[in-house]
């Protein structure tokens, strides 16, 4: 995943052309573009619309409907905290508070260092071993505030190693 500005418009076009003949191709296209760039920049919307014979409003409407799609860059790591009932019953409300306080951000915000973006999620299907969080594609169970700090420490470390 590229989260910096280092993406090529030609590659975006290639992605669209590879997928656009699928029936109902818009979601697969948006997933692939977001996978490549890290988000779906506003200036890509006209290109998608043009290639797929849709209006810009239609493409924008789909992007804005789904929580998973973003039109702005995120931090290096996306940290999602499950807010749903099963996790509530084992302390996710306290975990949310802890996360916001220690990272000093709210949901949908990124830490100043550009390292962590915090997002809410409604169920990760890990409901017997909550509270659960997802860091990028890894899901973690029974996350106490202490365990959360440990995991965030790992995120910071990985960023430093990457320079």
């Amino acid at each position: 995943m590229i989260t910096s500005g280092k993406w090529r418009i030609e590659t975006v076009r290639e992605i669209i052309q590879r997928l656009k003949s699928k029936p109902g191709a818009l979601l697969p296209v948006l997933h692939a573009v977001q996978e490549y760039i890290g988000h779906i920049p506003d200036n890509v919307v006209p290109i998608i619309a043009d290639e797929m014979l849709l209006t810009r409003a239609e493409v924008h409407g789909v992007i804005s409907f789904y929580a998973h799609f973003r039109n702005h860059p995120t931090g290096k790591h996306i940290v999602e905290i499950c807010r749903a009932e099963a996790c509530q019953s084992v302390g996710c409300r306290q975990l949310e508070e802890h996360a916001k306080n220690t990272l000093n951000i709210d949901y949908q915000q990124t830490t100043d260092c550009g390292n962590i973006t915090l997002e809410p999620v409604y169920c990760l299907g890990n409901c017997a071993t909550g509270p659960s969080i997802r860091i990028n594609d890894d899901i973690h169970g029974r996350v106490s505030p202490e365990r959360f700090d440990e995991l965030m420490g790992n995120c910071r470390q990985r960023l430093q190693e990457a320079g």
Partner: protein
């Protein structure tokens, strides 16, 4: 001879460190010169024991759990790989654990036993026996078998699967579709995920049989994006099924065609509603459609479409293998077969319990769940996801049966049981039900879109002591409007948890939890 050691690969086991344990076991075996074969099996669904490591012995598979990275060395020191049982984490023979032994696993018969990505494992455990039968039957014969089974939609609506299939079979059309609803968004549920991560070929087989039954040659699995591991495993399994002639244009040399593709959702709970799901599959905003027309007649891209939940389709291979009657022999009343119940939330022994319909809820929570994880008294149970009722102790005798639940103004839904101890504030839970609807409403109809926002506000006023009696009445009216006026179950069922709190925990909604 090489020793077989099993480390589960499902989300829960991995969320508790299974990958690291697998690496450590291999490294430790290598350094000790022990010849092992490490298998990444599915999960048994005994989640409080995960990561549950198993060793193959002459007497069966011996379990150790819950294992942490720090335990790997002592496991080897105490010769766990030779079937020694003295390690403190030894749980004995896995199949003898009462939690597992006392279940009736029809759908989950292979879960945790096999390597999910091994087609050979699947075939060695009755896999594709149902398809072999279906290939020599007519579409009508397959549909009749499903009708005999009494199977009802396991997604929550409990509509008879055979009747839905009959409608699609009877609707003329060159192009028909099978759509699997794998947008398992209800909190407290993970049975679909377990099917996809632990026994993906069963779902592929069920969908293929559905295609043969109604004359559909294309299937889609609409999978939520919150399930990255299921996504990976499904794609791998589909690739294998194509390579081995179980998918494609000539299934097992029959000249019959069925193609299958996974499509990812994008974080919208509403897309678990079948018509919203279809719009999303078509590449649109996931807006709910008015019914009729039924998706069985005008479905995906306007074509006749079977939309079934993962568990419904996963029950099909058993039904076509052993016969519809064998499935119908389980259960009570109009609820036939087995129900995979998911014990979740504040539960000591959480996990998957597949049993014939008819067991009381409290028996599940006590004999299997063993009470709360916190050790505090159990206070309320939400059954059937975020749109399900909160049940107090007086309702825990209710048996797992669709009709028994609806007679209590509750829903069985997808079978999720979320337990709460006495630290829960039920007013918070009622408020969250409305709040969740504000976040996840598709916005098409007013009672759901605006009603939920007003619902949060009214609950806040009641809790702040602002004209509480008037606002209580207003909340009741609002709930009725949402129930009667919403286009789909999202708006019409959001009042169920709210009203259950109003009925069973009224003081807490008015005054907050008292210590």
């Amino acid at each position: 001879m090489s020793i077989k050691i099993f480390v589960p690969c499902d989300t829960t086991a991995r969320s508790l460190g299974a990958d690291q344990i697998a690496t450590l076991i291999q490294a430790e075996a290598l350094s000790r010169g022990i010849d092992i074969t490490l298998v990444r099996n599915g999960s048994r669904g005994l989640f409080w024991l995960e990561p549950l490591i198993e060793v193959e012995t002459e007497n069966g598979r011996l379990g150790f759990g819950p294992v942490t990275a720090n335990d790997v060395q002592t496991l080897f020191e105490q010769d766990f790989h030779q079937g020694q049982t003295q390690h403190a984490l030894c749980v004995g023979l896995v199949e003898q654990i009462p939690y597992l032994k006392n279940q009736q696993r029809l759908t989950f018969s292979r879960s945790g036993i096999t390597d999910p990505l091994s087609l050979q494992d699947y075939l060695d455990h009755d896999g594709y026996a149902g398809l072999e039968n279906a290939l020599i039957m007519t579409g009508q014969q397959i549909v009749d078998e499903v009708k005999t089974s009494g199977l009802r939609g396991r997604g929550g609506a409990a509509f008879p699967t055979g009747i839905k299939w009959q409608t699609v079979l009877d609707t003329p059309g060159e192009q028909k579709y099978i759509v699997c609803n794998a947008d398992e968004g209800d909190s407290g549920t993970f049975a679909d995920r377990l099917v996809m991560e632990c026994d993906p070929f069963m779902l592929i087989e069920g969908m293929t049989i559905a295609g043969l039954a109604v004359g559909a040659n294309q299937g889609y699995i609409y999978l939520r994006s919150e399930y990255p591991i299921a996504h990976h495993i499904l794609n791998k399994a589909i690739e294998t099924a194509y390579q081995q002639g179980y998918l494609g244009n000539n299934i097992r040399g029959s000249q019959k065609q069925f193609d299958l593709e996974v499509r990812l959702g994008a974080g919208a709970y509403i897309c678990g509603e079948e018509t919203s799901l279809l719009d999303s599959l078509e590449g649109k905003r996931g807006l709910v459609r008015a019914k009729p027309p039924l998706p069985a007649i005008v479905g995906l891209f306007g074509k006749p479409t079977v939309v079934n939940n993962v568990l419904s389709l996963a029950a099909i291979p058993y039904i076509l293998d052993k016969g519809g009657q064998a499935y119908a022999d389980y259960g009570v009343g109009r609820s036939r077969g087995t129900m995979p119940i998911q014990l979740a939330g504040n539960v000591k022994n959480g996990g998957l319990v597949e049993l014939a319909f008819g067991i009381p809820l409290n028996q599940l929570m006590n004999e299997f769940g063993r009470g709360t994880r916190s050790g505090r008294p159990l206070k309320a149970v939400q059954v059937g996801g975020p749109l399900g009722a909160y049940l107090p102790e007086s309702q825990w005798h209710t048996v797992i049966d669709y009709e028994a639940f609806s007679s209590e103004q509750a829903v069985l839904g997808h079978g999720g049981v979320v337990m709460f101890d006495d630290s829960v504030d039920m007013g918070d839970q009622a408020r969250f039900a409305m709040e969740f609807c504000t976040v996840e409403s598709c916005g098409k109809c007013t009672p759901c879109r605006i009603g939920s926002t007003r619902g949060v506000e009214v609950i806040d006023r009641i809790r702040a002591g602002e004209r509480p009696d008037n606002n209580w009445q207003l909340l009741e009216d609002l709930c009725d409007t949402m129930v009667d006026g919403s286009l789909c179950a999202m708006g019409s069922m959001t009042p169920i948890p709210v009203k259950s709190v109003m009925k069973f925990f009224p003081d807490e909604l008015r005054h907050g939890r008292q210590e």
